[in-house]
């Protein structure tokens, strides 16, 4: 039935609608560069969403845990075989995404008889020098974007734009500033997604535009206090200053408590 082109286009369109639905309740992901390195931040219930991929590569994901796991393993396999056969310096996020991950996700998305990957991926790459850090985001249809200062994942592009707009205005002078900015940006995104869900407007991006939602710090902290009670704050750092080749490390509760704003840190356990 999909031999006719217009039916194939229709099937792909249906698939896009189906996939958009799957992300409505997903947790946003924030990645931001700072003096210490690249900070990745999200909140999760049970299944982690931030991972180490290679010496200077970290991953944040949204979507179905099994699909995320499959793609994470593919990335790990590609990165480690390349790192062994050539060198760690040849393992580049751009190559992994452009010639490995993105084509596979696009193919799965367009093969309408097979299940697509229900994932959005943010790959963060710590540069050899400050100022050379980078991000790649991949959508469920295989389209990818490269960014330098920060990158976010959220249910819709409208929410992502709102998060990016908020993050642009924040100070990232110290590491604690970056952690505070990242968690507030996460709240901006998650709050916008919740509002869209509550209002049942998730299908139409124009109508779900969250521009009218307040983003003052007090409102965001009140929202975050509720989220922290239900979820786990996940924070990882590609640490520029750590000794040895592997730069990725997850931030523990004690370290996070010391870095988070006073309004939130007592809630961590």
């Amino acid at each position: 039935m999909y031999e006719e082109p217009y039916k194939w286009v229709e099937a792909v369109g249906n698939r896009r609608t189906y996939l958009d639905e799957q992300f409505k309740e997903g947790a946003p992901v924030v990645g931001v560069t700072c003096e210490r390195g690249i900070l990745l931040m999200t909140m999760s219930k049970g299944t982690p969403k931030l991972y180490e991929i290679y010496d200077r590569l970290g991953l944040g994901g949204m979507g179905h845990p099994a699909d995320l796991e499959k793609l994470r393993f593919n990335l790990l396999e590609m990165a480690h075989v390349e790192g062994f056969n050539r060198s760690a310096s040849d393992v580049k996020g751009g190559r992994l995404v452009k010639y490995g991950m993105a084509p596979a996700i696009k193919q799965a998305f367009e093969e309408v008889f097979k299940a697509p990957f229900i994932v959005k991926i943010l790959l963060a790459e710590l540069g050899q020098k400050a100022g050379k850090d980078g991000f790649l985001t991949i959508n469920y249809d295989g389209t990818f974007e490269e960014k330098s200062q920060y990158a976010v994942l959220a249910a819709t592009s409208a929410v992502e734009q709102k998060m990016a707009g908020y993050l642009r205005e924040q100070s990232l002078a110290s590491f604690a500033d970056a952690v505070g900015a990242a968690i507030r940006t996460w709240a901006v995104g998650d709050r916008a997604q919740r509002r869209a869900l509550d209002e049942g407007e998730g299908h139409d991006e124009a109508r779900t535009s969250p521009d009218q939602l307040a983003t003052d710090t007090e409102t965001l902290y009140a929202y975050l206090r509720r989220c922290i009670a239900e979820k786990t704050v996940e924070c990882a750092l590609l640490d520029r200053h750590v000794q040895g080749p592997s730069k990725y490390r997850a931030l523990g509760v004690d370290e996070l408590k010391a870095l988070l704003p006073n309004e939130l840190s007592p809630l961590l356990s």
Binding site: P48, Y51, E52, I53, Y54, D55, F73, L76, E77, H80, V81, G83, F84, G244, S246
Partner: protein
């Protein structure tokens, strides 16, 4: 469906072959690396190695690093054919990283020992043919036992725990006797020595090995060449910088030789 955690297996599935059988051509001398040692001191394990690589009676290189950090808590010291040993170290390094990143937990110390044993076993044909014999020492911090440990291997892959110390390489017969003597009848056992005293002991041992074994490189003060000395504790692997080795050597070792 497997656990998808074995990097070495993944390499083999992609056509990689380790330990290829070869034959040494008549008159051909292979490069080998020489004296390595490890012993338990007060805070953990000290691992040290001289810097010389030889081929027959020719010195090939005097800046060889034979004490290789495999991960944040493990070190492999190598004696034997460096080409094979470095390849083993690269496989181990990637295997441990791959395990940690896929399984979201560190490979156990026992698992790390077994990984090296498997590589040595696969290397047996090359070792027996004379093209790739490696006799390593593996030391690391065992978080399950909360102790730094030392293991040494034979070329067939059998592993043995060095309860107090382990040695390998052509200069090892000399220092094995000294280690036994110092540990048994010295003022204090090796395991009670603080870091500085342990470092002096390692420098003296390698200097003694160089005295009696031409394939072991001693300290070359003119070139600023000192042995590689690393410490393994619960907080990780740390290298003693040459800037710290130099005054210790001047004060506690050189005046005796």
């Amino acid at each position: 469906m497997g656990m998808q955690s074995d990097f070495y297996q993944l390499l083999k599935e992609q056509g990689y072959v380790f330990g290829v059988l070869g034959q040494v051509a008549r008159g051909q001398e292979l490069t080998t690396a020489t004296t390595i040692l490890a012993f338990k001191y007060r805070d953990g394990v000290l691992v040290a190695g001289d810097r010389r690589a030889t081929a027959g009676n020719m010195v090939m290189y005097d800046r060889t690093d034979k004490v290789l950090e495999i991960d944040r808590h493990s070190v492999m010291a190598i004696a034997g054919v460096p080409a094979t040993a470095y390849e083993m170290a690269r496989i181990l390094e990637h295997s441990f990283k791959y395990f940690r990143r896929t399984q979201l937990q560190e490979l156990s110390f026992e698992g790390k020992l077994r990984a090296l044993s498997k590589l040595l076993k696969d290397n047996v044909p090359a070792a027996l043919a004379g093209t790739g014999a490696v006799v390593p020492i593996f030391a690391g911090y065992d978080f399950e036992q909360e102790a730094a440990k030392i293991y040494f291997y034979d070329i067939l892959g059998a592993e043995f725990e060095g309860v107090d110390y382990a040695v390998s390489g052509s200069g090892s017969p000399t220092i094995r006797g000294i280690l036994h003597y110092v540990n048994t009848w010295g003022e204090q056992p090796l395991s009670a020595m603080p870091e500085e005293q342990a470092t002096v002991q390692a420098l003296r041992l390698l200097t003694s090995a160089a005295e009696f074994d031409s394939a072991t490189g001693g300290v070359n003060r003119d070139a600023g060449l000192y042995p590689v000395i690393k410490f393994i504790t619960a907080s990780g692997v740390r290298t003693m910088p040459d800037a710290q080795l130099k005054p210790l050597f001047e004060a506690k070792v050189s005046r005796h030789v």
